[in-house]
Amino acid sequence: MNQSTPISMAGSVPGLAYRKLRDRVIESLLLGAALVAVFTTLAIVFVLVRESLPFFEHVSLRDFLTDTMWTPLFADARYGILPLVAGTMVTTLVALSVAIPCGTLIAIYLSEFAPHRLREVIKPALELLGAVPTVVYGYFALMMVTPFLQKLIPGLPGFNMLSAGLVIGIMIIPYVASVSEDAMRAVPNYMREGSYAMGATRFQTATRVVVPGALSGIAAAYILGISRAVGETMVVAVAAGLQPNLTWNPTEPAATITAFIVQVSLGDLPHDSIGYQSIFAAGLVLMLMTLVFNIAGFTLTRRFRQAY
């Protein structure tokens, strides 16, 4: 939006030149801050690529992408990334199947239905869910959720993706709920009032007016939640087990990319060995996965953004 000052007054408004200059300086500072994000990504990509180059000299790209076993630390090493990718995706899907419905439901409830007092108490309490250290969640999944699930599903192994996924889902509910709720509250009241005036109930208003109006914010909340689920480390490392396993069945144990990375970087491997360098290759794959679906989400939100 262009700054508009009446042309005839341009020179005579006191301090305008100073204010314009100050604005320019501030704008570049703000741009600098925004570029921090870009530099961080570049730095991460740089580190990942540089450290995985020796890995890819040793392992062919085709083996990496198509082999079905990931055992880089064994004597007869196999370097197929698919088991780790499958582990990541299954845990994320389980997590999302909990977080998205629950989070959205809670957001709608808090924004449209809950009395003001209740909202001010519940919202912070929900945010606390996201504050529990991930290590605590990991042990919660292992020691409480798994035995509980083992009663429901006999034969469930001690390490499985279902427990880990469910707990991650619970953990990201605040992301989805809080940010969505902020987006919904941003929908101006006159839109709700218009809907009520037509005789709609609160539920209809919520689903047909508020949610569509806040869709871009809700989508942003979803994307944030998804990214968080994909990048979760400790919960899966503790509760899903550390054996790579190419399966789509969430009741089996499996390793995710993140669990593998944490296991190796804190372990006993010498840092210049190929087993260690495999974590950077795995990290690179993870970044690409997140990138692909951030771009997808981004194009979607652009389309839905509403102006009011």
């Binding site: 700054q3 704008e27 500072l29 703000l30 801050a33 925004a34 570029l35 921090v36 994000a37 870009v38 961080t40 990504t41 730095a43 991460i44 439901l105 809670i106 409830y109 239905f113 809950a114 919202k123 912070p124 945010e127 869910l129 996201g130 504050a131 529990v132 250290p133 991930t134 290590v135 605590v136 919660f140 605040p174 992301y175 940010v179 902020d182 941003a186 005789g199 109930t201 539920f203 914010g217 942003a220 909340a221 994307i223 998804i226 990214s227 994909v230 990048g231 979760e232 480390t233 400790m234 990375i261 970087s265 990290g283 993870l286 970044m287 997140t290 990138l291 951030n294 989400g297 981004f298």
Partner: protein
């Protein structure tokens, strides 16, 4: 004829509305159920930690250093370390995150360059925390030679939570209605004046939401801190920020070695001695308590800001 159809329609409408009101009530029930189930999980977790850690939840635990004897091992260095790190992280993330969000929301033109920045931001939210640790090791510890210090820890965690703060801040900036901006422009304000005087004050609430969620995440992180060299045994505290001589405020603590609460927990929970499990549970309960306190302050601030909004 008009009257007859009008009559029938009114009854139809009434029936319709009462039917939909049932959905309404149903939704309230479902909503509350889901919400309280989620909170129930939190309660179960917290109660479990407090129960298991009860024997060690006393003042000595908070004032003792780590030790090999579980009954002597305390979290003094850990909670001091965590508090100082959180302070640093907040001080770094707040300006950068808010500035970046302001740029993206108020200033950036809608071109491919901006799109790249935006995609970058959300992408960073998905990078696993351990990668930030590895990045920080190479960049901050070695390249910039900042060493394994509280400052490095603060920088690492800031990068980690930056995307959360930026996204949440953007949403809250977007929530300020356009007419407010337009009115300010119409009176001759420059873009910065519009943003700082009119948009920011109203969006403070959402910004604080982002900071709360971000700091809550940062306080529980273990892996990146271990990677940059957080210690597991340190029986002395970083230097005090308040000193006896002028200028009474010192930043030397930024350069000190440190440990943090989640690391202490993680260390204790993997020890063979079952008594350490009690310590770990107690540390977990206190960590949740610290987060609650931190959140509480921010929430109170947000509540105060929210009250002013009435559009």
């Amino acid at each position: 004829m008009g009257a007859v159809t009008a009559q029938a329609s009114i009854e139809q409408i009434r029936a319709d509305v009462s039917r939909r009101k049932i959905f309404d009530k149903l939704f309230v029930v479902v909503g509350m159920l889901v919400m309280f189930s989620a909170l129930l999980v939190l309660a179960v977790l917290f109660i479990d930690l407090v129960q298991k850690g009860a024997p060690r939840l006393n003042l000595e635990f908070l004032t003792q250093f780590p030790s090999r004897k579980p009954e002597r091992a305390g979290i003094l260095s850990a909670w001091v370390g965590t508090s100082l790190i959180m302070l640093t992280t907040a001080a770094i993330t707040m300006p950068i995150g808010v500035a970046a969000a302001i740029y993206l929301e108020e200033y950036a033109p809608k071109n491919w360059f901006t799109a790249i920045i935006e995609i970058n931001v959300t992408n960073l939210a998905g990078v696993p925390s351990i990668i930030y640790g590895l990045l920080a090791l190479g960049l901050f510890v070695y390249q910039f030679n900042l060493g394994q210090t509280i400052l490095t820890a603060g920088l690492t965690l800031s990068l980690l939570i930056l995307p959360i703060v930026i996204v949440a801040t953007r949403e809250s900036l977007r929530a300020v209605p356009r007419p407010i901006r337009e009115a300010a422009y119409a009176l001759g304000a420059t873009r910065w004046e519009v943003t700082a005087h009119h948009v920011l004050p109203y969006s403070m609430g959402g910004i604080l939401t982002g900071m709360i969620i971000g700091l809550s995440r940062a306080i529980g992180e273990t892996a990146p801190l271990i990677t940059i060299g957080a210690l597991s045994f340190i029986a002395f505290l970083p230097q005090s920020p308040i000193t006896a001589e002028f200028p009474f405020l010192s930043f030397a603590w930024l350069k000190d070695a440190f440990t943090a609460m989640p690391i202490q927990m993680f260390n204790w929970v993997s020890r063979p001695d079952p008594e350490f499990q009690v310590n770990a549970a107690a540390a977990g309960a206190i960590l949740l308590g610290m987060t609650l306190l931190m959140n509480g302050i921010a929430i109170w601030l947000r509540y105060r800001y929210r009250k002013r909004i009435n559009w």
